[in-house]
Symmetry: C2
Subunit: 145 residues, 2 copies
Amino acid sequence: MKLSTRGRYGIHAMYDLAKYADGGPQSIKAISEREGIPEAYLEQLIAPLKRAGLVTSTRGAQGGYTLARAPEEITVGDVLRALEGGLSLVDCLDEEDACGKSCACASRIVWMKLRDGLNAIVDGITLRDMITEYERQCAQEDKTT
Amino acid sequence: MKLSTRGRYGIHAMYDLAKYADGGPQSIKAISEREGIPEAYLEQLIAPLKRAGLVTSTRGAQGGYTLARAPEEITVGDVLRALEGGLSLVDCLDEEDACGKSCACASRIVWMKLRDGLNAIVDGITLRDMITEYERQCAQEDKTT
DNA sequence: TGAATTCCGAGTTATTCACTCATGTTTGCC
DNA sequence: GGCAAACATGAGTGAATAACTCGGAATTCA
């Protein structure tokens, strides 16, 4: 019931890209150093994000990655679904007929409620929200210097 | 991001106990056969449920397990928390200071919202709800015989 | 041209999951 | 009393998955 590092690192990386959205393409190296993500591993995580159309890449020297849309138009759900592959907590919702009969299982109702509820939550948080809420809650620490 | 079999089997088992709540103690063997759970494994899963005070056991011949409370007073959340050990999707919420600074992480806000939202969902579903909703949605299948 | 960077696929290691097994203890029933 | 049906517990195991690593090719800028 834990999120894998894929999801966690993914959110961190996307948040990082959101913060540096105006600074031109950000290299894997820069992101991984700032966020403390193993460089070679981050490379693997960003591929699905690109496939999902959440980031765009520019190759070659001075290249890197940029958000494909504005931070307010990318949700935490977009990122997690790209990396974790669907937020259903149980396989029997994705596969057809994974456990015999479709309606013959009372638990199914529970899993569906969980899935829908989870999706609603993560789709309600954008990268922009993360930035603004973080500043609102923790800004005093930066100001006291 | 998947629920483990512990959680899934646990819900099945508890739902089973709720259905047979008036039939005296149910043995591991009976539950495992009805729900398709490996007998020796179920034994391991029911231990934490007992520790959490959700079921009571009677030893010896003709013994077994019974719900400790009425089905309407046991939530899916109770069961999942007992078996999955806390529904936070990320360790940094449980441990103190798992990632350095507590407030220095914008993702933390996300994880907290997820945890709280998830808990609200699972605590809103009781075993009784499972029974009644299942009957409401799937009863016609039984009636057409 | 050469350095910086993305891209791609395969390989590796450590951990966790999903069980099994062996053994002991308690209790009802004949 | 004694046997069989249950719970109780802790250790062990095989397979799967997670979390990386590595090597090398393709691309682009200066």
